[in-house]
Amino acid sequence: MNLTPGPEHFLVLGAILFTLGVIGVLTRRDPLIIFMSIELMLNSVNLTFATFSQQLGSADGQVFVFIVMTVAAAEVVVGLALIVSIFQTRQQIDVDELDQMSG
């Protein structure tokens, strides 16, 4: 039995992580956890990119990974700033409480 992981294993892992991220976003109520779930989704995509890059022998995918990492960092900055700003005025953060506007 060959236990060496092939590309498809990484792709499946990426898909599983992505799904976990989606589930996290849809079910959790703490903005920080939602935020982390989104990061998980982005990183699962990174894994997918890296796998494809390896499989196809093209560098594009790996370049993409770096771009995504950078962008994710920028997103963290903005997201945390927004969370802090909300926390300053309300002293609590639960997305269900963000219901001033009926949506």
């Binding site: 976003v25 997918t48 995918g61 993409f64 903005v78 927004l82 506007m101």
Partner: protein, 527 residues
């Protein structure tokens, strides 16, 4: 030992083809510097500076349009074809209109104007790159650039809970959508082996080496297309991924809402067309069904939900969703006429939609709840110069001739009929009929119901005087007509004029739109 020799082969022409983007980027940095180094209040200075930068970028875009631009520049990552330039026009005009109405809002809400304008320019930069991107990487960076700027802008009134809420909701849902889009990009890359849209298209057409023959039927391609559709649908607020739109539109500062309601959609639809209608055109059968369903759901839900709104910004949000549905109809036609209809639609939409937001923004700066429709009661009798253009926008959004809205919708539907999608057009026409009710309700509130206190202002005629035929009091002109600030005046009448002129003489711009589509189709080898 491997010695890597990298020849960087970027010519001046390459930089020339991204000149509009460079101008915006430079302007953004300049504004940040001004913000730091110029002391005191600088609303006027920064506003003018932003407008000048936008005008310069417009001139650069116009020059590229005139010369035809470069089909692909900077290693095939961006293009300056006419399609990109045409969308740049919409984006820049809407940015300029949004900037024009911002000073009043800035002074009432105590913004930091330098940062605010720098962020607007950041979003513009992202949008222009979005329209010009030829590579999945550029598209992703552009998308994030514009989104990050807009998250901050939506929450810019950081002491107003609604604005905070808008910014945060937008942030969470939009980055969620970005992740979907990105995963779709990854799968597309995996299937076709390239991030270049042109190479993807040749691969799927079966013309490329090193691209597996089974690419078009790969399950990963289906999943990737689905994920990208979800991502795009979120970003342009297509039903059922539209839930964030009304909340964000309502909570965000009005000039920002105005700007993002038009320009974001324009940029994303440009990319949407480049990716789906161009790059993935050979596998149209993979996505047409989904697009069809999304279009119908969007038109139906958007229009019906709009009926129930009492808040103008929410109404415009749902109206924007409905219009995205009409644009999808044109896109689903998947022919040259449909794509030029999309391009033209955005130009028309720029004027009529931002015009409506100018109206709301002005009322907000006068201290009243400018977005409650009930508060518009009898506004025509108090301030006709404000009510008349608003009526033009409403008629235009509802699609009455001779306005831009009618013409844009007409061409969009005609393209769909030409492609044989009569079912979409029938739904579109019926839902347009529904839309007449809510748009005209706004006009009815403004015009048909005089406010209680708004009796016509004039001197009463002595009662013993017999009414003679010639004796008509000069009541046609109320004595105290409120003066609009000049920037609102310019903004609202520019938009009104645009909404009318595009309806009466659309020929030239429609020709431009179809030229732009010819350019992009040629780029992807489509007839």
């Amino acid at each position: 030992m491997i010695v890597a020799v990298i020849h960087i082969n970027v010519t001046l022409a390459d930089w020339g083809s991204v000149l509009p983007e460079l101008i915006i980027a430079g302007g953004m940095l300049l504004l940040m510097l001004v913000d730091v180094f110029v002391p005191g209040k600088k609303v006027n200075l920064t506003t003018w500076l932003t407008l000048i930068i936008l005008a310069l970028a417009f001139a650069a875009s116009w020059n590229l349009w005139r010369t035809g631009g470069m089909a692909s520049a900077l290693y095939g990552t961006v293009t300056s074809d006419r399609f990109a330039m045409f969308f740049d026009f919409s984006i820049l005009i809407s940015a300029a209109l949004a900037v024009l109405i911002s000073p009043g809002y800035i002074s009432t809400s105590a913004f930091d104007s330098g940062e605010y304008y720098a962020l607007i320019l950041g979003a513009v930069l992202g949008m222009m790159l979005m329209a010009a991107g030829l590579s999945l990487m550029v598209l992703f960076i552009a998308l994030e650039l514009l989104s990050l700027a807009l998250y901050i802008l939506s929450g810019f009134e950081r002491f107003r809970p609604r604005s905070q809420e808008a910014g945060f909701k937008y942030f969470l849902l939009s980055s969620f959508a970005s992740a979907f889009l990105l995963y779709g990009f990854a799968l597309l890359y995996g299937v076709t082996g390239s991030t270049s849209l042109i190479k993807i298209s040749t691969c799927l057409a079966g013309h490329a080496h090193g691209c597996s023959a089974a690419a078009t039927s790969s399950p990963l391609l289906y999943i990737g297309i689905g994920l990208m559709l979800v991502g795009f649908a979120f970003k342009v607020s297509i039903v059922p991924f539209h839930m964030w739109t009304p909340d964000v539109y309502e909570g965000a500062p009005t000039p920002v809402t105005a700007f993002m309601s038009v320009a974001t959609k324009a940029a994303l639809f440009a990319a949407f067309i480049r990716v789906f209608s161009m790059s993935l055109s050979t596998v149209e059968s993979h996505w047409y069904g989904a697009l069809w369903a999304l279009a119908i759901a969007t038109m139906v839900v958007g229009n019906i939900a709009a009926l129930a709104q009492s808040n103008m910004k929410r109404l415009l949000a749902y109206s924007g969703i409905a219009h995205a549905g009409y644009i999808l109809v044109a896109m689903a036609a998947n022919n040259a006429l449909g794509q030029s209809a999309v391009a033209f639609y955005f130009l028309a939409y720029t004027f009529m939609n931002i015009g409506a937001f100018v109206f709301v923004a002005y009322l907000e700066t006068t201290g009243r709840a400018g977005d409650e429709i009930a508060s518009y009661r009898g506004i025509f009798y108090r301030n006709p110069a404000l009510a008349l253009p608003m009526a033009i926008f409403m008629f235009s959004l509802a699609g009455f001739p001779p306005t831009a809205g009618f013409f844009a919708k007409y061409v969009a539907f005609q393209a769909a009929v030409q492609a044989g999608h009569v079912d979409l057009v029938v739904v579109g026409v019926i839902t347009s009929l529904v839309s007449v009710v809510y748009y005209l309700r706004v006009v009815a509130v403004m015009f048909l119901q005089p406010a209680e206190e708004a009796a016509p202002v004039e001197q009463p005629v002595p009662p013993e005087q017999p009414p003679a035929v010639e004796q008509v009091p000069a009541s046609a002109e109320p004595v105290t007509r409120p003066q609009l600030p000049w920037n609102i005046d310019v903004g609202i009448w520019t938009a009104a004029l645009g909404s009318i002129v595009l309806g009466i003489i659309p020929t030239g711009l429609l020709t431009y739109a179809s030229e732009s589509v010819t350019a992009v189709r040629a780029l992807f080898g489509l007839p």
